[in-house]
């Protein structure tokens, strides 16, 4: 292959060098990496916070955190994980890096807007840190429910303002992606030739665009109430706190699809490559992404069955919740069917994807328990919800993020990590995960409520085991990150297609050059045609 300079050596705009070539870059790949570093930082902070929370819960009574501190700590854990990690993780890092490459172009449509989104993201993080050092971090939980969020003395306004800024960042990224897919796609690429990861980002972008403004205005209203005492949600003055919950979940439930859809897209990319087989049901996966985006916007009130809203509403939202499970199941069946009779080559990204399928399925099925109005009353606000949520968001999106890191790492950095350590880390994380969250399902069914720093003596056993699981999980995450970053010390010698992928990013050098494509990209009639892939470097070197 001819030698081309990678984007690491060619700043854009060219007049900047050193740190400035990153801080003022308009290159989507550099912006993606800047997101990666910031997001990793926040992820590790929130993981440690979560670890401390579980440490407090390992033994009954007050051990490492006081009740107030516990409240602030779980709020901070939630706010960071939701707004600073899961929502931006896949779109902002891998979407930025690979969406333009997937559609055969050299950048997003609005590169400066892209950079602005990154600065908004960073500003949101800085505001969140700032609120830690004044009056204490909010103790409301990441949902900022009224009336408590209006009456508490902790610094809710600053925390809410951070979420407000981060909402803008997410919304502008969505706007950018939609415009890019419409206007910058290679002329030869029709809608049904777009890779599935990009399709999922496109569906996500619409949800980001249409749902985020609702939470923006809701958060503004919380600030208004705190500063001006308007009384819009105050029952004593005619307001209705349930309306706050409606407005909040009108965004925040679609937001969980903002979190999971790109994760599903990642898995749809990885599975066919290592099964050496065309994805099963390409059109069904595309359609189900869009169906999730639409149906997922109509289920918000299933968070509110016990709030006292009308029984008719409970019935309708329960029904719609069951409906939204269908497209998710279509995807799971399509992935499994893709593996069936494939020439499966086990690699760390595939291993993590398989873990994803298992964990996400458990998360999805327990979601139906919660979606059923009757069962919901029993497990509402218990640890069952905590376990369900973490199975979908961490077992789902989190594992998709890990899988994406391992899948695209050689492309982004031009270096391969150590496979053995990657497997050990993946097993530690998955095993620790099961040990950590399965007891919570049981605790929840037994009636242990969430969001308390203490519990009744009968819950001691489950909490103790969960704490152990957390330890293994955190060790696994540490090893995984160390293994990935250790590879950066190696020589940059990766060939363009280590896995035998067929989407466009595997046709260009690793790491890609500034304008992505050296020659005009060749668009395949069908994006998952593996007939040209015979053997791959990874196959030979690892002897799988």
């Amino acid at each position: 292959m001819e030698v081309v300079k990678s984007f690491f050596e060619t700043p854009e705009p060219a007049r900047f060098t050193g740190i400035w070539s990153w801080l003022f870059t308009l290159d989507h790949k550099r912006i993606g990496l800047m997101y990666l570093y910031a997001i990793m930082f926040w992820f590790l902070v929130a993981v440690l916070l979560g670890g401390i929370l579980r440490l407090e819960l390992m033994f009954p009574g007050e051990t490492v955190l006081s009740a107030d501190l516990y409240n602030s700590a779980f709020t901070l854990h939630g706010v960071i994980m939701i707004f600073l990690f899961i929502i931006p993780a896949l779109p902002a890092v891998f979407g930025n890096f690979f969406l333009p490459i997937h559609i055969g172009t050299d950048d997003v449509y609005f590169p400066k807007l892209n950079l602005l989104s990154w600065y908004l993201y960073m500003a949101g993080g800085v505001v969140a840190i700032f609120s830690l050092f004044s009056d204490g971090f909010a103790d409301t939980g990441w949902t900022f429910y009224v009336p408590f969020s209006i009456s508490t003395n902790t610094n809710v306004s600053t925390a809410v303002f951070a979420a407000f800024i981060l909402g803008f960042s997410s919304m502008l990224t969505g706007l950018n992606f939609i415009t890019t897919v419409h206007k910058m796609r290679d002329k030869a690429m029709g809608w049904l030739q777009i890779p599935l990861f990009t399709w999922s980002l496109y569906a996500t972008a619409w949800v980001q665009l249409l749902a985020t403004p609702v939470v923006t205005i809701t958060l503004v209203l919380v600030m208004m109430e705190r500063f001006f005492n308007v009384g819009l949600f105050d029952p004593a003055r005619g307001g209705d706190p349930i309306l706050y919950q409606h407005l909040f979940w009108m965004y925040s439930h679609p937001a969980v699809y903002i979190m999971i859809l790109p994760g599903m897209g990642v898995i749809s990319e990885i599975i066919p490559v290592f099964a050496r087989k065309s994805i099963f049901g390409y059109k069904a996966i595309v359609a189900s992404s869009l169906a999730i985006a639409i149906a997922g916007s109509l289920v918000w009130a299933h968070h509110m069955y016990t709030s006292g809203m009308s029984d008719t509403a409970v019935f309708v939202f329960s029904l719609l919740t069951f409906v939204v499970a269908i497209p998710s199941a279509i995807k799971v069946f399509s992935w499994v069917a893709t593996l069936y009779k494939g020439a499966i080559q086990m690699t760390p990204p595939l291993f993590l994807s398989l873990c994803f399928i298992y964990l996400f399925s458990v998360g999805g099925l327990t979601g139906l328990v919660l979606g059923a109005a009757g069962a919901n009353i029993h497990v509402h606000d218990t640890h069952f919800v905590v376990a369900h949520f973490h199975f979908t968001m961490f077992g789902g999106t989190g594992f998709a993020f890990f899988a994406a890191l391992h899948y695209w790492w050689p492309k982004m950095f031009g270096r391969m990590y150590d496979f053995t350590k990657a497997y050990i880390a993946a097993i530690l994380v998955t095993g620790g995960f099961m040990f950590h969250y399965v007891p919570m399902f049981i605790l929840g069914l037994q009636g242990m409520p969430r969001r308390y720093y203490d519990y009744l003596p009968q819950y001691a056993g489950g909490n103790f085991f969960a704490g152990f699981g957390a330890l293994f999980m955190i060790l696994g995450i540490g090893l995984m990150m160390a293994n990935l970053f250790a590879s950066l010390r190696k020589k940059r010698d990766m060939e363009s297609n280590p896995w035998g992928g067929v989407t466009l990013e595997w046709t260009i050098p690793s790491p890609p050059p500034l304008h992505n494509f050296v020659q005009k990209p060749k668009i395949m009639v069908y994006p998952y045609d593996f007939s040209g892939i015979v053997d791959t470097p990874a196959n030979k070197s690892e002897g799988a």
Binding site: D107, V108, P111, K183, L210, P213, L221, F228, G231, L247
Partner: protein, 216 residues
């Protein structure tokens, strides 16, 4: 500026000069329309609050509306409609390369925006002098529905006022760029988008006006 010309990065295959301008324009417009959707939803959530509370406290809302000065409301509506005409005229003028008319149009629109804000200042000032503002005793101790009516009145017209200020900033930038010949008939996407934004702000007012001034 969010949508200025230098922002665009075209793929290598599309860099032929004759294609550049046209592709630019459509993409920027698409981006702006997407942004306008988000604005509509932003106000939409507030209108949902209004709808729910109006259904619950219809009589209080009617009583509240009677306290608002309809003359101010009508004048402000007319002013905004005229300003939209000015903006539309300046866009047409730019497309025909009539720089002076374009500048006059933008100046006129800015003037209208200014008058709108001055009116708003007097209107709010008058209400506050009467003891009608969020958290005031009169509202806190009065009927719940009126508290909500005026609460929504301040929040919605306040947010709308903020949008007027943002719109005026955008129009001012356009005015300078037209003057400097940076916005011309060949490169009018920015002005077009600022115009779209202004029309949206105008349109939102068209909904606010009947909801607060005419529900009697």
């Amino acid at each position: 500026m969010i949508l200025a010309g230098s922002w665009i990065h075209l793929p290598t295959s599309q860099r032929e000069p004759e294609l550049t301008v046209q592709t630019d324009q459509t993409g920027k417009k698409l981006g702006m329309w997407l942004f306008l959707y988000t604005e509509i939803i932003l106000f939409g959530a507030l209108f949902v609050l209004y709808a729910v509370y109006f259904a619950r406290y219809t009589q209080d809302f009617i009583a509240g509306a009677k306290e608002l000065d309809r003359v101010f409301g009508v004048i402000n509506t007319i002013i905004l409609l005229v300003s939209s005409f000015f903006v539309a005229a300046s866009i047409t003028a730019v497309r025909k390369d009539h720089k002076k008319i374009a500048l006059a149009g933008l100046g006129g629109a800015l003037g209208c925006g200014g008058i709108f804000l001055v009116n708003k200042y007097f209107e709010w000032g008058h209400k506050i002098a009467l003891g009608i503002y969020p958290g005031a005793e009169k509202l806190v101790d009065g009927p719940a529905g009126q508290n909500l009516f005026f609460g929504l009145y301040y929040v919605i017209t306040g947010l709308h006022g903020l949008h007027i200020v943002i719109g005026m900033t955008l129009l001012s930038v356009s005015l300078v760029l037209v003057q400097k010949q940076k916005i011309t008939s060949k490169n009018d996407a920015l002005l077009d988008n600022c115009g779209l934004y202004w029309h949206l702000v105008d349109l939102v007012w068209i909904f606010i006006f009947p909801l607060f001034y005419l529900v009697v």
